[in-house]
């Protein structure tokens, strides 16, 4: 009996109808997911429609998302490989093409779960060994009282929701997140602040602003409360991304300040920017090329290399691309998009496999075509 059910299940899951329906749903998903990008932005739409197993249509109807559909499609394609009467010599080309497709889908899955990306921002003459996440933030508490070094205690984004309470040190004060603002507007206070507001918030207020569709154009901010320092540092503090001045406070007689920054991932080497160069099409504002002359420093041994548009630096599984630059002060700053992706070779291999399959299929078709012609 159970075998019968399994057979039935397999029959359904490998049927071409399932493939057709998943395709139709994927078409609908891609269409509306693309239109939605205009309103909610590329990243949000990608998260909602494509990188999800389901999403809520009109807020309450659950519908299958991109991952589920692609998973179903992969299972369908995989199981259809076990069909009877499939493994014949004359179908070998087509089988190879579909194996290539399967590999492409598998690579997509691998990339979706095991890749990370972000930006490495380096000013000329400086070096960096960490990557800023595009979307996630973190809260760092910096201990300034140590000799010759700074001690960082970093709080992950998952703890930074409104109403969250946590302690950063055993028996230390409690941190209470009052609000987490996606995009902030900073304004002067009109009336003097209550004494509970410290530092930045004594003079300014942080007000939420409508978030931009593109996440990188937002300036996120955090308002939090410290209680239990027993030294007068208790109060409400405000922080925003890229804030210049720090508000010091004391915990256990040590001086701290906090930073709200993009989540950092450290890489096992340093990159030093020697020179950033941008060449314009003469007499225009259109860039012709950008390039960063960098030192890749590993175990104190520098290696000089040039990162150009379309010519990235690959090292230890990381790839650094010339993505952008910041040019607002006297120092030029380069922005290198950094990616670690275990699935990156899959599209290359699968497209080669698919090409081979098609070629074999065409070669196998030739005798048939010749016969038809001679008839």
């Amino acid at each position: 009996m159970t075998i019968n059910y399994l057979d039935k299940f397999l029959k359904i899951i490998m049927s071409p109808k399932v493939f057709s329906y998943t395709l139709i749903w994927l078409i609908i998903l891609v269409f509306f997911g693309t239109i939605a990008q205009k309103d909610i932005g590329l990243y949000a739409s990608q998260m909602k429609y494509f990188s999800s197993f389901y999403f809520l249509f009109l807020g309450f109807i659950p519908l299958p998302g991109g991952r589920l559909v692609l998973l179903l499609m992969t299972v369908n394609l995989f199981s259809s490989m076990f069909k009877r009467n499939l493994w014949q010599l004359k179908k070998i080309g087509i089988i190879i093409v579909h194996l290539g497709g399967l590999l492409l889908l598998a690579g997509g899955g691998l990339t979706a779960y095991f890749s990370s990306e972000g930006n490495m921002v380096i000013a000329e003459g400086e070096s960096s060994n960490y990557v800023d996440d595009y979307h996630n933030m973190e809260l760092a508490f910096v201990n300034n009282s140590l000799k010759d070094s700074l001690e960082y205690t970093v709080v992950d984004e998952s703890l930074l929701y409104e109403g969250s309470r946590f302690q950063i040190f055993d028996e230390g004060p409690e941190i209470y997140i009052i609000s987490n603002i996606k995009n902030v507007r900073i304004e002067n206070r009109i009336s003097p602040a209550d004494s509970i507001y410290k530092g930045l918030l004594e003079k300014f207020v942080l007000l939420p602003k409508k978030p931009e569709p593109e996440n990188t154009q937002n300036r996120p901010a955090l308002i939090y409360k410290i209680q239990g320092t027993s030294n007068g540092s208790d109060g409400i503090y405000g922080l925003f991304l890229g804030q210049g001045l720090n508000d010091p406070f004391k915990i256990n007689d040590q001086i701290f300040h906090s930073e709200y920054r993009r989540e950092r991932t450290y890489v096992p080497f340093n990159i030093e920017l020697i020179d950033f160069e941008k060449i314009m099409h003469p007499g225009t504002n259109v860039a012709k090329s950008f390039s960063s002359d960098v030192n890749l420093i590993e175990n104190d041994i520098p290696r000089r290399t040039l990162i150009k548009m379309n010519e990235p630096l690959r090292h230890k599984g990381y790839t650094f691309f010339q993505a952008s630059f910041i040019d607002d002060s006297d120092v030029e700053t380069t922005v290198l998009a950094t990616v670690k992706n275990y699935g990156r070779l899959f599209p290359y291999i699968s497209s080669i496999i698919m090409s081979i399959g098609l070629l074999i299929h065409l070669l196998l078709m030739i005798p048939k075509m010749v016969r038809r012609k001679s008839k």
Binding site: P16, K17, F19, S20, L23, I24, L26, I27, V30, F31, G33, T34, I35, Q37, K38, G41, L42, S45, Q46, F50, L104, G107, G108, T111, S115, E117, P213, E214, I279, M280, H281, P282, G283, T284, V286, A287, K288, S289, F290, M309, N310, P312, T319, F321, A323, A337, T338, V339, N341, G343, R344, P347, Y348, S351, M354, S355, L358
Partner: protein, 551 residues
């Protein structure tokens, strides 16, 4: 004697045409002198045409038969007359009245007419200038643009913004200077700069005195100096070729042959089928050759693969469409290929021209796109896919029509279906690999293979749709008629992926567009949807009406 004379002049014309069309390399004319503008070295002719396009809306003053380069040179030599020439095209009555001008149905105004108005509106224009560009109303945009054009016009008249003089140190990325720069800055020109300045002066003086001989001498000098510059970006041959391309307008000629071919195939359905079909095919091939030559010339001038802008993609897709249509006709010999080629080619040419007016100015590319390898592989593959998809779409329509007009001829239906299916496979091959190659390019330059960017999604939609069609047909879910309907509707998806995604203005691929595109796209979608569905359902409706149910 008269006969011989006419004949001679006839042959003279033929000869002239032949020498003219086969070799673009005539004498060095004033139109050919190199100017640096918008990031590249171009002939004065192109520069003047683009300037005129900006002010006047067209590349020459047709009603007075003034060529762009003549207009520019006359403006320089005789600014008083130039300022009275009505070259500013203002189509917005609000702008006209804000400049204290009388509304004219010609929409044309001279510099002297508009400049007083602009001077009176300086305060308004300043405030508009301070606004963010997305906050400006259409009126404000146009007024601002007009005031900028007026400044530009003024600068043209004393050659301030005509970068005619190569830099002292010959370097590809250096900025050229205008004659005005030398006068105002008082820099001592380098030897080659002085030579060019002298020949220019010699030419302008001779032109002012209308001394043809002296003008030619000056140009000979000019050519010699420019050719002697050991400087890779000034290529006199290229300059001449570009001027020639501007003059002959190859794509207008190929369009003419396509339309002719369409008319002839129409006639062939009424009389002498094989005779008219043959000339129609011949005409199609002539048009196709001219079309291809135009693309090759553009590649030569810009030194890059055929497709890098939307305009070029239209021209190239129509070239692929014609290539496939010619092949189809060669094998079928029944006019189907001619029909697909002439209609598709003509429509795409018209679409192309509408983009040409916006900016077929052979512009430069931003850094990430400036990669000949990927332009040649990914972009070319995907545009071949678009072309093949459109051909498949056309055959889909013809199948639906054939199904209505002559459904009893199952042999012909079957042969059309076979072509349709084969073309769909061909299209899928190119759209699929084009899309994967695009992903690989993205992986190479941005670090991700796939980012759900609108342009990527558009290409993916075409691939998915064609996969759906082919698998449904092979699995027996879709009958040939449904398959034909699906491929007919595929045209809508191609149009959305091609033009539609730019309307969203998000992501890394977005380039310029205007509201007209959105409107035309809606019209096209509604038109295709109703035509295809009508053709598909017509036989069902008809059979219902013809055989009323017996009660």
């Amino acid at each position: 004697m008269n006969f011989i004379k006419t004949n001679l002049s006839f042959f003279h014309y033929i000869f002239l045409f032949a020498s003219f069309s086969l070799s673009p390399l005539g004498a060095f004319e004033v139109q050919n002198i190199p100017v640096q503008s918008e990031g590249r070295i171009k002939p004065l002719d192109t520069f003047a045409r683009n300037m005129l396009l900006r002010f006047y809306g067209k590349r020459e003053i047709k009603d007075q038969n003034i060529k762009a380069s003549d207009w520019l040179l006359d403006l320089i030599l005789n600014p008083e007359d130039g300022r009275n020439l009505k070259v500013f095209n203002i189509r917005n009555p609000e702008v006209v009245s804000s400049l204290f001008l009388e509304w004219s149905t010609q929409h044309k105004y001279s510099f002297n007419e508009i400049i007083n108005g602009i001077k009176n509106q300086v305060e308004l224009i300043k405030t508009i200038d301070q606004k963010e560009s997305q906050d400006r109303t259409p009126f404000e945009k146009q007024l601002l643009e007009l005031s900028q054009s007026a400044i530009m016009f003024e600068e043209l008249s004393y050659m301030k913004n005509i970068k005619l003089i190569p830099p002292a140190l010959l370097d590809e990325n250096a900025v050229w200077q205008s004659p005005f720069d030398f006068i105002i800055s008082g820099i001592t020109p380098a030897y080659h700069q002085e030579e060019i300045l002298n020949s220019l002066q010699q030419y302008l003086a001779a032109r002012f005195q209308k001394n043809e001989l002296e003008m030619n001498n000056a140009l000979l000098n000019y050519e010699k100096i420019v050719s002697d510059l050991s400087f890779s970006t000034v290529d006199v041959k290229k300059l001449k070729s570009e001027t020639w391309m501007n003059d002959v307008n190859l794509f207008v000629k190929s369009l003419a042959f396509y339309i002719l071919s369409f008319l002839l195939i129409g006639i062939s359905w009424m009389a002498k089928p094989s005779f008219f079909r043959n000339i129609s095919f011949f005409s199609l091939i002539i048009g196709f050759l001219i079309h291809g030559y135009g693309i090759v010339m553009r590649m030569y001038i810009m030194g890059r693969p055929p497709v890098s802008t939307l305009y070029e993609s239209v021209i190239f897709v129509s070239f692929i469409l014609l290539l496939l249509a010619v092949a189809l006709e060669y094998f079928r010999k029944d006019g189907l290929g001619i029909f697909v080629g002439s209609v598709g080619g003509s429509i795409l040419h018209f679409i192309g021209f509408s983009y040409a007016a916006d900016g077929d100015t052979l512009g430069m590319l931003v850094a990430v796109l400036d990669s000949n390898f990927w332009l040649a592989t990914h972009v070319t593959t995907i545009t071949i896919g678009y072309g093949a998809s459109l051909v498949a779409g056309f055959i889909g329509h013809l199948y639906l029509i054939q199904n209505i007009s002559d459904s009893s001829n199952s042999k012909k239906l079957k042969s059309i279906f076979n072509n349709l299916f084969g073309m769909t496979l061909f299209a899928l091959f190119f759209t699929l690999f084009g899309t994967i190659l695009g992903g690989i390019w993205a992986d190479q330059s941005w670090g991700r293979f796939w980012g759900w960017d609108p342009k990527e999604n558009g290409a993916l939609l075409i691939v998915l749709w064609q996969l759906l069609m082919i698998h449904s047909r092979l699995a027996g879910i879709a009958k040939p008629l449904l398959f034909a309907l699906g491929m007919g509707l595929n045209n809508i998806i191609v149009a959305l992926a091609w033009f539609g995604v730019n309307l969203l203005q998000v992501g890394l691929h977005s380039y310029g567009f205007d509201d007209g595109v959105a409107r035309n796209l809606y019209i096209f979608i509604i038109f295709e949807l109703s035509i295809c569905l009508f053709l598909y359902y017509f036989p069902f409706i008809k059979s219902r009406f013809q055989s009323p149910r017996v009660l």
